[in-house]
Symmetry: C2
Subunit: 344 residues, 2 copies
Amino acid sequence: MTRRSSSVTIRDVARHAAVSVATVSRYLNQNAPVSQEVSERIQQVMLDLSYKPLAVARNLATRRTQTIGLVLHNMHTDFFAPLLRGIEAVVSEYQYNLLVATYKHTSRPENLSPLGPQNTDGILVYADSFNEEQLIDLCRVKFPVVLIHRTSPAHLKIPFVTVENRTATRKIITHLIETHGRRSIAFLRGPFEQEDSRLREQGYRDALDAHGLIVKPALIIDGEFDQFVAYRNVKKLLSGEGQRFDAVFTGDDEAAIGALRAIQEAGLRVPEDVAVVGFDDSRLSPFLNPPLTTVCAPTEDVGRTAARLLFNLLQEQPAEMATLLPTDIIIRRSCGCPASAAMN
Amino acid sequence: MTRRSSSVTIRDVARHAAVSVATVSRYLNQNAPVSQEVSERIQQVMLDLSYKPLAVARNLATRRTQTIGLVLHNMHTDFFAPLLRGIEAVVSEYQYNLLVATYKHTSRPENLSPLGPQNTDGILVYADSFNEEQLIDLCRVKFPVVLIHRTSPAHLKIPFVTVENRTATRKIITHLIETHGRRSIAFLRGPFEQEDSRLREQGYRDALDAHGLIVKPALIIDGEFDQFVAYRNVKKLLSGEGQRFDAVFTGDDEAAIGALRAIQEAGLRVPEDVAVVGFDDSRLSPFLNPPLTTVCAPTEDVGRTAARLLFNLLQEQPAEMATLLPTDIIIRRSCGCPASAAMN
DNA sequence: TTGTACGCGTTATCAC
DNA sequence: GTGATAACGCGTACAA
């Protein structure tokens, strides 16, 4: 390995400043006193040589990367934009780096995670990107992890931050029932692997139960948090026999796009014939036609909170185990309420 | 530095497999023949010890990080979502890591970039996140860079990928003039630092000139690619005297949101009284009211292309200097055309 | 096909 | 306050 790097190293700085490498290092890291005189000399030399410490070398020496990771299972939805924005804000505040990767666990072990102890000091794991086994592995080596939009497996005690799904869903369905007198409410289920989906389904069932309405399996169909899947399945439901419904809870706002279209293409009016409500309050929802009544999830705040928690972990400070961010119902037109002042 | 790490290293593997570190390394990197027998022994030991190579150590040894960076000047717009999606797709294809950071150059030098040779093998620089001086520095050390949504300073010869701005703008303005007979077209200028803004302004001027229309400075106002700025300034323009206009090109789709609102709140109809056209074809534009006629910019493709170029650079393969992705006009309602089949 | 020995740029320990 | 130097974990000439 004779190819000496052309870049200027701490040794060069030390030589030119007529001090030892150790002193330069101390000056750099401010972790031990260095005389005023020497400091100035070093600073000057660093400028002259335009010396830049090589991150990877310090990383090896310190065994820290100054980087945190974010694992997403995909980037297809608009959901991750505010999430990322929140995370990035905190990360840059801490002068850290942010590594972003998509990953979906599979049964095959050779499909190994791009993010982990090899290249980060800690990671943020979104929903079901990692399975329990992977989380166990990380816990075993005491690697800092914060879960986003999922709770921790009970025995692992991994801090997590997610939003209030069940109660909010119960409330918005209750609104449909009590305020608008809807009694046949369809539900577009999200991906079963995602906890959000399951909790929203529970909230849906809660509300129906509480009002003595029967949960009809035929009215629970797959929406997959996806515009096109929702479109197809709502269309199918509409063309079926005896599956009358006067409202639909779309699971999330993406699916609402497809549901609205299917309903309107069938010649039905929203909200008069069929009311529609979603979940997330995505950027699009106020612009849908009619504007979508939905549950506002504070996604950017979720990102910020999760990132802060992770930094607490990194600094071995206490970190809240469970963070459940509150969600609000945003009333617009699609539920049947009159056009409100609360546009956008 | 006596604190021996508890983690298992390549040396442990070598010892247990009764071979040298070099052989283990060769097995790992598949860059030199290793006998079948030894291979199997090593593989078994690695499994037993659940050995994971430390990325940072190989990085130091190879002087490569297996990471590319993306520098954004902010994450406030929805624009970066498809961009990121495109980039991420290519990055994961190459089994690389993606570091994302926001950064806005300032005059103060202490505000140093979070991304560069210290932590990446190459970077993607969006628009004006870096100034020319910073680009010069990177070129000097021959650091691989690809520019996104801006051209290279002439003397630097940095590959870039951006979209066709000027001609597309000229076309969409021409559509307003020729098809819809508009003759007083306002323009919401984007941030001056962004090349996209300036080129779109030129396209606007081109179209007016070509039709013998006078460019009225009073009709060129700031939109800043921002919904709220656009709203305020269009409102102001509408309340002014003698600044009649029958159309507005909003610079981008974000600004269109604000412009539409300002116009409609003033009691004017879009497109009958004032036609509105934008640029980007963001996720929102088909959902605006009326659906927005705009220029479709292939943002995800921009991301993919830029990433591929960067990987070409990394592999010292030839890379196209200039990539100008084509843009298409998407006709919807807001220009005055009848509702077309081309919804969404 | 395998092993030896050193280099990568930095931090951290210890002695002074 | 400062210097000398051993780690850090891995890659890779070179020799065998």
